[in-house]
Symmetry: C2
Subunit: 261 residues, 2 copies
Amino acid sequence: MLNAQQEAVNARRQWRQGLVRPTAGIAPRMTQTNMIALPADWAYDFLLFAQRNQKACPILDVSDAGSWRTVLAEDADLRTDLPQYRVWRDGVLVEEITDAMEIWEEHPDLVTFLIGCSFTFEWPLMAAGIEVRHIRDNCNVPMYRTNKMCRPAGRLKGELVVSMRPIAHERVADAATITSRFPAVHGAPVHIGAPQALGIADIMKPDYGDAVRIEEGEVPVFWACGVTPQAVIQASRPPFALTHAPGHMFITNIHDSRYQI
Amino acid sequence: MLNAQQEAVNARRQWRQGLVRPTAGIAPRMTQTNMIALPADWAYDFLLFAQRNQKACPILDVSDAGSWRTVLAEDADLRTDLPQYRVWRDGVLVEEITDAMEIWEEHPDLVTFLIGCSFTFEWPLMAAGIEVRHIRDNCNVPMYRTNKMCRPAGRLKGELVVSMRPIAHERVADAATITSRFPAVHGAPVHIGAPQALGIADIMKPDYGDAVRIEEGEVPVFWACGVTPQAVIQASRPPFALTHAPGHMFITNIHDSRYQI
């Protein structure tokens, strides 16, 4: 029988070998993170932005400039151990890659931020009998840019991005309560129902990830999302950034109980 | 009848007029914070240190360089609205003052960090019928430097500082549970009983604040403390720092419910 941490190690090995797929539902109970790496002279602005927008950007680790290591998984290499990366130049997405070794050689001073991901609290939701639609349907979670501006910091600004899960009306309060205990991976929902109030014109057309079915008797529930930094990159245009591809997260060696209140 | 926020406004006015006293038990339910202001070129190191040591340094706001304003109390002036400040040069405490206007003129680029204070969760403790000894005895909370090193960041390192409250054995679990719901003001205890395991030789000789009685049937309970940055200053010797005096906190306009999980 594999223990939980071994499942994380195995998943990272698969991504390193080139497998590309969203990470929801992989490595039960192991904390997952978003990633953004920026040139060192942008690190303070980003760390300040994250502090000012903790709901969207709860930081779990920051690497020293030039290091692709993290205390969240000491055997991991952040250049290769995510299933898919995005390369941004002057605020424009220029490439999706599965291996960032060459990019790192081009930018040896990157500071890497690992930001808690809501995939982490999907295990406690499922343990409570709440269906997580994108896991059930084996696709990526839908994510939306909203009309809510984050609090700016230095040269950085941008809109809040949210993830959405349809939840049965009678379980919405449970979903809010359970996820509230995990503030390090976005915590309680930021919005329940009424997508139009977030500026979402069509719930079936997410800005990132896949659309999912919303059944009769279900309400769309929105959580702050660690893809927010990618909206910030687009709005703020740093000369270079390397991020994960939405839904294609870094899986750590840290059990979710470490972050539960 | 004064509302809760008005009590915060009134308290700050008293400190501004020169009153010096610890702030525990003042302005019920209003969030209190530690303060450290550093020259701008030390700001990244400190923000990173805080991220790496969130239990001791949960940051609630960071001012832009040179600003003495905060979103936590828009009418406040951080140069005058704490009851007492400490001035540090090259890691040495050189002065305690009640007004930092002149110091700010000398250092116009300070970045000010406001860090959650455990005085905030003393109201919920008392509401649950748990006595808070230093409030009952009208003195400052006892604080201790420990033998636990924080995770360093850049040029900053130092020992964890803890605050201590004696709690009746049968209420220790309640105290842990109640405070765990306030991670932004240090959350659950880091240590219960056994002061010697933290390297505290004599519980009646705190490094900061006042000693308090420990009665028969009570256990010393230790929470991470926002005076940790002052131990970091001593160990790391930045050329200049301005902090609050231990126990003499900044009282914000934010009700504690904002930070409750």
